[in-house]
């Protein structure tokens, strides 16, 4: 059952977690970037070992963000944004180490609860999804896209970004192996040679999450690194587990909120931590203390964002739909090894499934052990100069894009195109997460849509095929209606006189 466990497997999880923490701890670098940059290294590792590395990077990357959030008031990753609210004030009054350890323990609990949900829920959901026909599969994708767009900061721009992702994913040949007719479409004249198979997923991902992030930093002048003197861990207040007394409900609730947010496609860790934090503040007996160095705020934020890690894998492994941008990159690892994720994945690959659960477990424990006992050293990571890191990352992006399809130079240009596009997205307020999920799911959506019509010859089949289809339509309409109501409420609040 545990044949995958080997010294290499464990070393890769530990190494991935360590590198992930370092990436997460450096402001401007994210868990997604860590996975994007290290993805080509999984090439020759095999699926289980490759996933061991990437899952370590994922868990470590999400957790590492708390270091600069607490010590510098700058979130290392977007998912640590609410950690700054109470962590930084604690650090300023000399309780940095205590705040860091609170965050580390909360991260561990969040990670383990979400892992439990993943282990229990994903196989059940997959068993259920096996019964889906093309119609239900298409509606699941439609539901995923509407939920993602509904939870975007701007619903209209969120939907537009998702549909744009689908559109770009359709460039190239309508593949015969997918039941298509082998004809080209959406390919500008003269580019048939390069775009015959469309844009490859991995260079697109590396461009959007690697190069674009560095271009954003270059635009603002690559801020100077922080000197060691700025990083004050503090010794005035020692950490004890007593700080968690009375925080059990907050811890479990925030972990479950994070897990649930993770299950929703395309919604990132920042939403998980913000919603967890808001709930913790709402239900607290002392909400006025939040934002001024309240440990409950750090607990909510960090258990919420680490709760995301297991949750985001649920739709990926049971439906083939990534829960967030980092799990979208994990699809790349499966693609590299020729394995398709979807409802059949867990049943057909029990060894890989066990390996993933085991890797997540080790990664969470390793993250805790490394950060809890060596937090003073990790705190120094924020001083690594970006002028050394960024060029090396750029080079790794090139390697990743080039090697992904056994050496195609067009993939390197794809990296540049989508890197610039990713930077432009931030300027145009378009959203990268819906775009990338649309890009990943677009080809499947096409197959399910066209095959449904070919099989049944009637568009009403999308509404009448089964009770599942009806439920999915209700969910789709509900998510859109909910988003419209939320947007109107936000608008009303904004228009109210102060």
């Amino acid at each position: 059952m545990f044949e995958f466990i080997s010294p290499l497997f464990v070393s890769l999880v530990l190494g991935g977690t360590l590198v992930g923490i370092i990436f997460g701890a450096i402001p401007g670098m994210t868990a997604t970037m860590a996975v994007a940059v290290c993805l080509p290294l999984t090439y020759s590792l095999g699926l289980e070992n490759g996933l061991a590395l990437l899952l370590g990077l994922y868990v470590g990357g999400i957790s590492g963000g708390l270091v600069p959030a607490i010590l510098l008031g700058i979130p290392g990753t977007p998912s640590s944004i609410t950690t700054t609210f109470d962590g930084y004030p604690m650090a300023q009054r000399g309780e940095g180490e205590k705040a860091l350890r609170i965050g580390i323990v909360a991260s561990l609990v969040g990670g383990l609860i979400s892992l439990l949900v993943l282990d229990l829920f994903a196989p059940t959901l997959a068993d259920f999804a096996i019964k889906f026909s093309y119609v239900e599969k298409f509606l699941i994708i439609l539901f995923a896209l509407t939920v993602m767009a509904a939870l975007s900061s701007d619903m209209l721009l969120g939907i537009f970004s998702g549909v744009l992702g689908i559109f770009i994913s359709l460039i190239g040949t309508y593949d015969i192996s997918d039941g298509g007719n082998g004809e080209l479409r959406l390919v500008p004249p003269g580019t048939e040679y390069w775009l015959e198979s469309g844009f490859s997923l991995l260079p697109v991902l590396i461009g959007l999450f690697g190069l674009a992030a560095i271009l954003e930093q270059a635009e603002i002048g690559v801020p100077r690194g922080h000197s060691a003197s700025e990083v004050k861990v503090g010794k005035h207040s020692r950490f004890s587990f007593g700080v968690f007394r009375g925080q059990g409900v907050n811890l479990v609730r925030s972990s479950l909120i994070g897990t649930f947010i993770g299950i929703l496609p395309g919604v990132g860790g920042s939403a998980a931590s913000i919603i967890s934090y808001t709930n913790a503040k709402t239900f607290s007996k002392t909400p006025e203390r939040f934002g001024k160095g309240e440990p409950g705020g750090i607990i909510a934020s960090e258990s919420g964002n680490n709760g995301l890690t297991g949750g985001a894998l649920v739709p990926l492994l049971s439906l083939g739909i990534p829960g967030d941008s980092t799990t979208a990159l994990l699809i790349g690892a499966f693609t590299l090894q020729g394995v398709q994720v979807g409802p059949l994945f867990i049943g057909n690959n029990p060894g890989t499934w066990d390996a993933m659960i085991f890797a997540m477990l080790i990664a969470n424990i390793a993250m805790f052990a490394m950060m809890y006992f060596a937090i003073r050293y990790f705190a120094m990571v924020v001083t690594i100069p970006k002028h050394i890191l960024f060029p090396v990352i750029l080079m790794m992006c090139v390697i990743g894009a080039y090697t992904i399809n056994y050496g195609i130079m067009f993939d390197v240009w794809t990296l540049l195109i989508f890197g610039v596009l990713g930077w432009l997205f931030t300027k145009l307020r378009l959203e990268v997460a819906p775009f990338i999920i649309g890009f990943i799911l677009g080809p499947s959506a096409e197959i399910y849509f066209v095959k449904s019509l070919e099989s049944f010859g009637d568009v009403t089949i999308f509404f009448t095929k089964s009770w599942i289809a009806v439920v999915l339509w209700l969910l789709i309409v509900g998510s859109v209606a909910g988003a419209v109501l939320m947007s109107k409420k936000k608008q009303r609040i904004a228009e109210e006189p102060v």
């Binding site: 004809e183 050394i388 130079m409």
Partner: protein, 139 residues
């Protein structure tokens, strides 16, 4: 009603059905955005002007230019020594060095030296890793 909802898919043109549908939806969404945000879009010129003004132009345009040059040179240089990955190695060393210098705020020898070491060791290690243990040919 039954006839109105019935669809026959012609296999020869089946590759155009979904892209056409998506293009129409994209167009409609684009139109909705224009109608809703017309005031903001009318001020797009000001927004881009402000972006341009606040941009660190040497670093942003410099890294874009360097990256373009890096990608363009990699293949021709690699063709001088085919299938050895020399194009990658010989272009990456100056690229890492130049990008690092560009991103640097103070260029004193004490700060340049670590960058020089990374620029030499980093690409060489990656080149060795992919060429020998991983058997992947670089440009």
């Amino acid at each position: 009603m039954g006839d109105m909802t019935r669809v026959t898919i012609d296999f020869d043109t089946s590759h155009l059905i979904f892209p056409t549908l998506i293009a129409i939806i994209l167009g409609l969404l684009g139109l909705a955005i224009v109608l809703r945000d017309h005031a903001r879009l009318a001020e797009a010129g000001v927004h881009w002007h402000r972006t341009w003004q606040h941009m660190d132009k040497p670093r942003f345009l410099g890294v874009l230019g360097l990256t373009l040059l890096y990608f363009t040179m990699m293949v021709p240089v690699g063709e001088i020594w085919p299938n050895t990955g020399m194009g990658f190695l010989l272009c990456s060393i100056p690229y890492v060095m130049a990008a690092g210098l560009l991103f640097m705020h103070a260029r004193a020898p004490r700060q340049v030296l670590p960058l020089l070491i990374v620029a030499l060791v980093g690409p060489t290690f990656v080149w060795w890793l992919f060429t020998y243990p991983l058997f992947l040919t670089l440009p």
